[in-house]
C-alpha cells in the first residue's frame, strides 16, 4: 500500500489498512530508535508549526519531540500568546502561519471540525491534535498501538471506555479505530455523559460498571472534566469516584490480565485510584512513550507521503 493522505483529520476517515500502516510505521521507528537510518532525517529542513489553541502538555510535547526526532524544526504557538486573543480569526492566523513558511500545521482547537476548516484554507498538511469533542486521532492511534503491543490482533477483543464519553474526542477517535480493527467496544459512565445514540455508531452502551468491566480485555479510563460538567451532568466527584472510580476492589473483579489505559492527565482518586494507576496492569506510561513513535509516523507519512517499501 502507499500513503496518500496529506492531512490527518480524523480516524473516522481512515481505512483499517491505513490505521495498520501508520502503526507499522510507528513500530519500525520505535524499534530502530537510536540507529542512523535515513528516516530519522526525513523531515530535515521542514518547519512544523504547533498551533495549540487549547492547553496541552503531553500532546504538544510529544509532537515536538516527534518532529525533532525526524530532523524538523518546530515552533509552538499557544492560544494565549497568539493574535487570536487580539481578535484575529483562525482563518487569518492559519494563512499567516502558512505565509511564514510552515511545512505542516499541528492544530489543537476547541472547535469541532476546525482542522477540516483549516485544511480548506491552507495547502500544507494539517494534523489534528484534538478538535473539541470531535476527534483526537494521534491519541487513538497511540492507544491502539499500545493495545496491540500488549494484546496482539484486536479482532473480537473487548475494550471498555469508561468515563465522560459525551465530551471526549479521545473516546470518539478510539471508537472508530477499535471498531475498524474488529474490536468490541463498550462505552460506560454516567447516563448523562454516555448518550444511548452511541449504539447507532456501533458501540455497546452500559451504565453498570460491573457489566462494563467484568469481561473486558482492556479498559480505557477517561478524565472527568469536572470544571465543565459538574452540576449539569453529575452531582460530585466523590459520587463519581464511588460509582465509577476504578479502585483495586473493582480491578480484582476484572480479568487477571486486563490492562488499564488512560490518556492523561489523571485525576487520582476520582476515575482512578493510585494503586491501580501504578499497578502492573496499568500501561499509562507506555502510552506516553508510544505517543512519540506514533506521532513520528504520522508526521513522516503526511509530510513526505512516502511510498511503501516494506
Amino acid at each position: 500500500m502507499m500513503w496518500h493522505r496529506k492531512s490527518l483529520l480524523s480516524i473516522e476517515d481512515l481505512s483499517p489498512e491505513e490505521i495498520i500502516y501508520i502503526l507499522d510505521k510507528a513500530k519500525s521507528l520505535k524499534e530502530s530508535k537510536g540507529s542512523k537510518e535515513p528516516i530519522f532525517h526525513s523531515l530535515r529542513g521542514k518547519r512544523i508549526i504547533n498551533l495549540f489553541m487549547e492547553p496541552s502538555t503531553r500532546t504538544r510535547v510529544a509532537f515536538e519531540i516527534a518532529a525533532k526526532s525526524l530532523g524538523a524544526d518546530t515552533i509552538s504557538i499557544s492560544g494565549e500568546a497568539s493574535s487570536l486573543t487580539k481578535g484575529e480569526t483562525l482563518k487569518d492566523t492559519a494563512m499567516n502561519v502558512q505565509a511564514l513558511g510552515a511545512d505542516a500545521i499541528v492544530i489543537r482547537h476547541s472547535s469541532p471540525g476546525s482542522p477540516l476548516f483549516l485544511s480548506r484554507i491552507v495547502d500544507v498538511p494539517i494534523i489534528n491534535a484534538g478538535d473539541g469533542a470531535h476527534e483526537h486521532p494521534s491519541q487513538a492511534l497511540l492507544d491502539i498501538y499500545t493495545l496491540r503491543e500488549k494484546m496482539g490482533d484486536l479482532r473480537d477483543k473487548k475494550i471498555t471506555i469508561l468515563g465522560d464519553i459525551l465530551f471526549s474526542r479521545v473516546a470518539r477517535s478510539n471508537l472508530w479505530g477499535l471498531l475498524k480493527l474488529g474490536a468490541i467496544v463498550t462505552l460506560a459512565g454516567p447516563s448523562t455523559l454516555v448518550p444511548r445514540e452511541f449504539e447507532e455508531l456501533g458501540a455497546r452502551v452500559t451504565y453498570d460498571p460491573e457489566i462494563a468491566l467484568e469481561d473486558a480485555d482492556a479498559v480505557m479510563l477517561l478524565r472527568i472534566q469536572h470544571e465543565r460538567q459538574q452540576a449539569s451532568h453529575f452531582p460530585s466527584l466523590t459520587e463519581y469516584a464511588n460509582v465509577f472510580g476504578l479502585d483495586s476492589k473493582v480491578l480484582s473483579g476484572m480479568k487477571k490480565n486486563a490492562i488499564i489505559l488512560h490518556p492523561g492527565p489523571l485525576n487520582r482518586g476520582v476515575e482512578i485510584e493510585s494503586e491501580v494507576a501504578d499497578s502492573n496492569q496499568s500501561v499509562i506510561l507506555q502510552q506516553v512513550a508510544n505517543g512519540i513513535a506514533v506521532r513520528m509516523a504520522i508526521l513522516h507519512l503526511c509530510i513526505t507521503r512516502e511510498e511503501s517499501n516494506h
Binding site: L90, L116, F117, R169, R172
Partner: protein
C-alpha cells in the same frame, strides 16, 4: 427614491391561480393605476407589455420571518438588499424581525427602519417589534407605542422569553392592542450552546445537540398559554415531527394556534452540516427525514398554516469561521417559494403556494388577502414552471451568501414580482 414607477403595464396570457377568489383561468392582466383588469381597458394597451404565456400567476406572497439587519449590521444586509432579495424570491411583502441592533423595541428604531424602507424598498415591509425589552425576556416592551409606530406583530424571534409569567403577561398585553404574537418555540436551557440537531450525527461530529424536546416543550407551553388566555398565538419555524403532532391535537381541541415552517426544513436535513458547512447551520437546526416528512404532511393536512424563508443573513466573514463559532441562521428569501414547490413534489403545487405563502400569512398578521380579481390592487408573483436553473447565492441580491441551497437545481423560476401595484422584480436573462 430608487423606485421606477411603472404605473401601467400589461401581462398577457398567464394562468391565474387564486382559489380564494374562485379564479383558475388563462387571462390577460392589465394593470392601470395599480389595479388589476382582465379585459383591455378602453384606453388601449400599455407600451409596457409582456407576454407571459405558459406562466403561472399567484396572489402576492408574504414572508413571515425575514431578519432585518438595519440598524446594526448593514454589511450583512441593507434594507434595500433585503427587499430586493425578497422580490427576487417572489415575495411582494415581508414581515421584518425585530432583532436589530439596537433592538426594535422602541418607536425611534421603528421609525428609523421605516425611513429606510421608504427610501429603498420596492415591496411592502411590515414590521414586528420585540415582545420584551431587548428580547431579553425580562420586561414587557412598550407594545402600545410600538403599535402606534406601525408594527403589526410582536415577537422575540429567534428567541423566546424563558420566564413564563412575563411571556404570558406580554401576550395578554399584546392582544389588548390587537397585535399578532409570533413565538419562536425553543427552550433556552435545552438548546443552550447547541450547534446542531441532537442525533448520532451531532454526537460523532462532537457538536452540542439541540433536541427535538427543546422545541416541543416550548410548543406545549405556547399551546397552554393560548388555551389559558383564549388568544391566538402563531408558532414560527417548527422543525420537529413531535411539534406537528402537538399542534394537530391543539387545533382539534379548539385552541387558536397557527404555525409555520421554514422552506429549508421542508427540503433539507441534518446531513447538510456533515462537512461542517456553516451555511447549513440554521435556527432551529435542520433535523432528520422523519421530521421533514412530517412537516410536509403537516403542510398538506392543514396543520401547518404557512411556510417562511427564515432569512438570516450573515456577512461572509461571520460565517467563514469554525462551525461552533458561526452564528445560527441561513439566508432564504431568494429560494423559499421555489424550495416550497420542490418540497411539495406535486403536479399542481400552486394552490398550496397561494394558501401557505399568501393567504394564511396575511391572515395571521390580520392583513387583507391579495387577490387576482378585477379591481383589486396588483400584488402578485409570476413564475415559470418547468424551467430548470441552479441557484448560486453569488448571483443573488442579498449581501450575504450563507445559503444551504447553493448548487440546488430548481425546476421553477420567478419572472415577475408585483407589489402594491408596481413591478418590484422582473427577471432579465442578463442578471440571472
Amino acid at each position: 427614491m430608487k423606485q421606477t414607477l411603472l404605473k401601467d403595464f400589461d401581462l398577457l396570457g398567464g394562468t391565474l391561480i387564486d382559489p380564494r377568489s374562485g379564479i383558475n383561468k388563462i387571462s390577460d392582466l392589465y394593470i392601470r393605476k395599480g389595479k388589476i383588469y382582465h379585459d383591455m381597458p378602453k384606453s388601449g394597451p400599455s407600451p409596457n407589455t409582456h407576454n407571459i404565456d405558459g406562466h403561472v400567476v399567484l396572489p402576492g406572497l408574504l414572508d413571515l420571518r425575514a431578519h432585518n439587519r438595519v440598524p446594526g449590521a448593514g454589511k450583512s444586509e441593507s434594507v434595500e438588499s433585503l427587499t430586493r432579495a425578497a422580490a427576487k424570491g417572489g415575495f411582494s411583502s415581508i414581515l421584518a424581525m425585530p432583532n436589530t441592533n439596537p433592538y426594535s423595541d422602541n418607536p425611534a428604531t421603528i421609525r428609523y427602519i421605516q425611513d429606510r424602507i421608504k427610501q429603498t424598498s420596492k415591496i411592502k415591509v411590515y414590521l414586528s417589534g420585540c415582545l420584551t425589552v431587548g428580547s431579553r425576556g425580562e420586561s414587557i416592551a412598550p407594545l402600545g407605542s410600538l403599535k402606534d409606530a406601525g408594527v403589526v406583530a410582536v415577537t422575540d424571534c429567534p428567541d423566546t422569553p424563558a420566564n413564563n409569567q412575563i411571556f404570558t403577561n406580554a401576550i395578554r398585553y399584546a392582544k389588548m392592542f390587537g397585535l399578532a404574537v409570533l413565538d419562536f418555540p425553543q427552550d433556552s436551557y435545552l438548546s443552550k450552546n447547541s450547534h446542531a440537531h441532537e442525533s448520532p450525527l451531532s454526537l460523532k461530529m462532537g457538536l452540542a445537540g439541540n433536541p427535538r424536546m427543546a422545541e416541543e416543550m416550548a410548543v406545549q407551553r405556547a399551546l397552554l398559554i393560548a388555551r389559558h388566555l383564549g388568544v391566538p398565538i402563531h408558532l414560527s419555524s417548527l422543525s420537529s415531527a413531535g411539534s406537528v403532532q402537538l399542534v394537530k391535537q391543539a387545533k382539534e381541541s379548539g385552541i387558536e394556534i397557527t404555525a409555520d415552517v421554514s422552506a429549508h426544513h421542508l427540503l433539507l436535513t441534518e446531513e447538510k452540516i456533515s462537512d461542517y458547512n456553516t451555511s447549513a447551520k440554521t435556527n432551529p437546526p435542520l433535523r432528520q427525514d422523519k421530521d421533514r416528512e412530517t412537516l410536509i404532511k403537516g403542510i398538506k393536512d392543514g396543520i401547518i398554516d404557512a411556510c417562511n424563508s427564515s432569512h438570516e443573513p450573515y456577512a461572509e466573514h461571520l460565517k467563514d469561521v469554525e462551525f461552533d463559532l458561526a452564528p445560527r441562521g441561513a439566508t432564504g428569501l431568494e429560494t423559499a417559494a421555489l424550495a416550497f414547490i420542490e418540497a411539495m413534489d406535486e403536479k399542481e403545487p400552486f394552490s398550496l403556494v397561494a394558501e401557505k405563502m399568501s393567504y394564511n400569512p396575511h391572515e395571521i398578521l390580520g392583513l387583507s388577502v391579495p387577490s387576482l380579481a378585477e379591481g383589486c390592487e396588483a400584488d402578485f408573483v409570476v413564475l415559470k414552471a418547468n424551467e430548470k436553473w441552479v441557484y448560486d447565492p453569488i448571483d443573488g441580491e442579498s449581501l450575504s451568501r450563507n445559503s444551504p441551497m447553493c448548487g440546488y437545481q430548481f425546476s421553477n423560476k420567478i419572472k415577475f414580482t408585483i407589489s402594491g401595484g408596481r413591478i418590484a422584480y422582473q427577471y432579465s436573462p442578463n442578471s440571472i
